[in-house]
Assembly symmetry: C2
């Protein structure tokens, strides 16, 4: 068996996977006819479902630093952030494919950590590896394709927001950015210590929790008019949603759920000029859901399991302007200031 | 609109794609409900088909040289080699997703060439771009996921070869390796000239032709017992097919269809020690089909449209040994000597 085949075996054993000929039919319908180990995977679709498909790249140097970020975080986050797009459509995640380019010297210890993190994410997200490709490269480059299912016509797009709709967001915004800044500011050795000591503070940056269940609930109950995940920052992603929907928005700054900087880090935060509102507006990587709800539907949200994690932060308006309104009613334009790899 | 969004627009306009909300239902069934521009693509499966899914990485430095290989070859080849796995299952290629990591300075001229090549491949292969992800990186890294369809249960796996079956291969082997060696041996400037002057000789290396139609014909007519594409070299890929099928093989060296080295390159070939048989056995990147046929079915192959491109090169045997037999009947073990990125 060649080295590449050995590596593929490691992957197939390292994460929940469908290898060889089998029938993995579950209650929801789709079945894996053929998993890892042939030229391609074969999947029989469920009887009454659309496929939702997305791919996502995660690169050393661009998305993570090999000397600061733990290998298991790279495995966990690369899969969970790819799956976030499935959550944002209101779909159920089912299968994934992994293209992994990796330096030879990382194929032992580092790879074991990477697969440990990916295994944990796969279990939590309910996805199974059905195929992939491995190759050698000078730095780690990961691309993940996730396939999910949704009832026909029920996928929630970005394009349905209408004037008067409430704008809602899950969780707190800016948490991932805060984590990134703390890790960036530490040495390689300090980062290791920081990750262990501040696991809760760094959680959304290292091991982002994806709102798959809430997304599915919103799709199933037809409560929302549009949805997107906050992956590049609120200002950028709200801008995208509004552009596609052909609407404007008014965001109430005081309502945005902000990350809290622990007292022990306030001095460092001042030094690094970390402003909670700015991190919430423009920080990327939070993977919270941003969605719009017609006002007459808002009451229904109360029966969502994650209702207490929801905040209404503004409303959709006609026109094209996106405004940020402060506590005294002063409005200014909210321009896309989030993550853009090409800026 | 941010720079990343502008780049996504370039991709959506540059290759055949499904953008926005639409219904692209064709005679064979599957429909794109939602293409590029949302969090994920939504596809309604055809009524009576399995999905065949594969992903494939294509990296600067590992799979191509940025200073030697034309940008349009990178676009063409990255898509066609990914689609080769769909051909090897006997399926029809339908959709693809593209993860593209690219240095900032390549987002104009180089990207235009890349998309031109990818557009041509997409048209020839009959695939439509439904999603993707773009990001910045120090070197070009491409991952492509291709989705195809096949009648339920008709996908051709690697595992069905049985003792007595004939081993067949399409086209000539070693062509891609010869092309690679000529380009490797030239300067950056010389390579540009070579690609223009020797377009036919370099075709399988730069713009590999994929046997999608023959693959579909073989699946539809239930003629073959197993199939794989020759992507890493005959010795390696036949080894994989035999391992999964639990069989051995006997390959007749004199029957292998070899690349012909043009007279004008014979001196260079001697200098580079390019041996046609060795290139055919161990050279990668040919993307020809390698399949096994029960002898009683062999006659049926004559009605295949590409029959004159087929050659029987050996037979499956019981046991596990893979032997190469020379014209005088001497047999030696044929060990996997093809492309392995981790060797």
């Amino acid at each position: 068996m060649g080295r590449e085949d050995q590596l593929i075996n490691k992957l197939a054993l390292g994460v929940p996977s469908a290898a060889g000929l089998q029938k993995l039919r579950d209650s929801r319908g789709a079945a894996v006819r053929l998993g890892i180990g042939d030229d391609a995977a074969v999947v029989a679709p469920g009887r009454n479902a659309d496929w939702v498909v997305t791919c996502d790249g995660f690169l050393e140097g661009t998305h993570f630093l090999a000397d600061r970020h733990p290998a298991d975080s790279v495995g966990y986050k690369s899969l969970s952030r790819a799956t976030s797009d499935i959550a944002a459509m209101g779909a159920t995640a089912r299968f994934f494919l992994l293209t992994l380019a990796i330096p030879q010297q990382l194929t032992d210890e580092w790879l074991a950590g990477f697969l440990r993190g990916m295994r944990r994410a796969a279990k939590e997200l309910g996805v199974v590896l059905i195929g992939g490709d491995t190759t050698r490269s000078a730095s780690v480059a990961i691309s993940i394709t996730v396939m999910g299912e949704v009832a026909p016509g029920r996928a929630i797009t970005r394009s349905g927001a209408r004037p008067g709709d409430l704008i809602c967001v899950t969780g707190k915004l800016g948490c991932a950015q805060l984590g990134l800044e703390l890790i960036r500011n530490s040495t390689a050795k300090g980062a290791k210590d920081l990750c262990r000591r501040e696991s809760r503070l760094l959680r959304q940056h290292l091991y982002p929790q994806i709102r798959l269940k809430l997304g599915q609930w919103l799709a199933a109950h037809r409560v929302v008019s549009s949805m997107i995940d906050v992956s590049d920052g609120l200002s950028t992603d709200l801008g995208r949603l509004c552009a596609v929907s052909g609407v404007g928005a008014r965001v109430w700054a005081s309502r945005i759920p902000l990350v809290r900087i622990p007292a022990g880090y306030s001095k460092l935060a001042r030094k690094l000029r970390l402003d909670p509102l700015r991190m919430a507006l423009h920080g990327g990587d939070d993977y919270e859901l941003l969605f719009t709800v017609p006002r007459r539907m808002a009451k229904r949200l109360e029966s969502a399991t994650e209702f207490r994690d929801l905040t209404a932060i503004g409303e959709i308006e006609s026109g094209r302007r996106i405004l940020l309104v402060d506590s005294e009613g002063r409005a200014e334009a909210l321009r896309p200031g989030g993550w853009d790899p090409f800026r």
